[in-house]
Symmetry: C2
């Protein structure tokens, strides 16, 4: 595994559901690129003992962290702490690309 | 602390040296925005027991991970694994903004 990764080259989308593309995995974290076509979702879920950060690279994301739901664009980061339900929707009309880092890897 | 943070609003530069701006801190990770004026550096260092990911938001970064040094632009991520020396230089001419995630917080 290289220690360098180009996000654009790793931004693969899928017609049936949002696609997770892994950049790096260690015992302490993983770093992925999540790609959403318009309308695709990551349904509400939570992780006990792991924290996740989303960073919007391109497009618009409707992100919920607990009861706090916001529609945000490129350049916004969101923290989903351990045990707190979180979800993502791409409201469109553009494709949505997120950098995602989770520690530790569940 | 909010669970949402705008990177642009948190991109503060300093004339004397590169500036670290914290977005999120938990017991498992921190997420910062590092801002480098042209010519500013983060000197070589390593962390035992923590992994770091850099993501180039804007500008050009000369990043070394061990013996692998590359000059990269926006959209490239780099992993500095535990114990491996890493460093960053902004070769200019633009300002450099990096998203930085480290797990766990040292």
């Amino acid at each position: 595994m290289s220690n360098f990764a180009d996000v654009h080259a790793n931004s693969r989308f899928a017609a049936d559901k949002m696609k997770k593309n892994n950049l790096f995995t260690t015992e302490r974290l993983f770093c992925d690129v999540y790609c959403f076509e318009p309308g695709q979702v990551q349904t509400p879920h939570s992780h006990d003992g792991s924290d996740k950060v989303y960073y919007v690279i391109a497009g618009t994301a409707r992100i919920s962290i607990g009861v706090d739901e916001r529609e945000v664009g490129a350049g916004v980061a969101a923290l989903a702490p351990s045990g707190v339900a979180h979800a993502v929707t791409n409201p469109g009309p553009e494709r949505l690309t997120l950098l995602v880092l989770m520690a530790p890897k569940p």
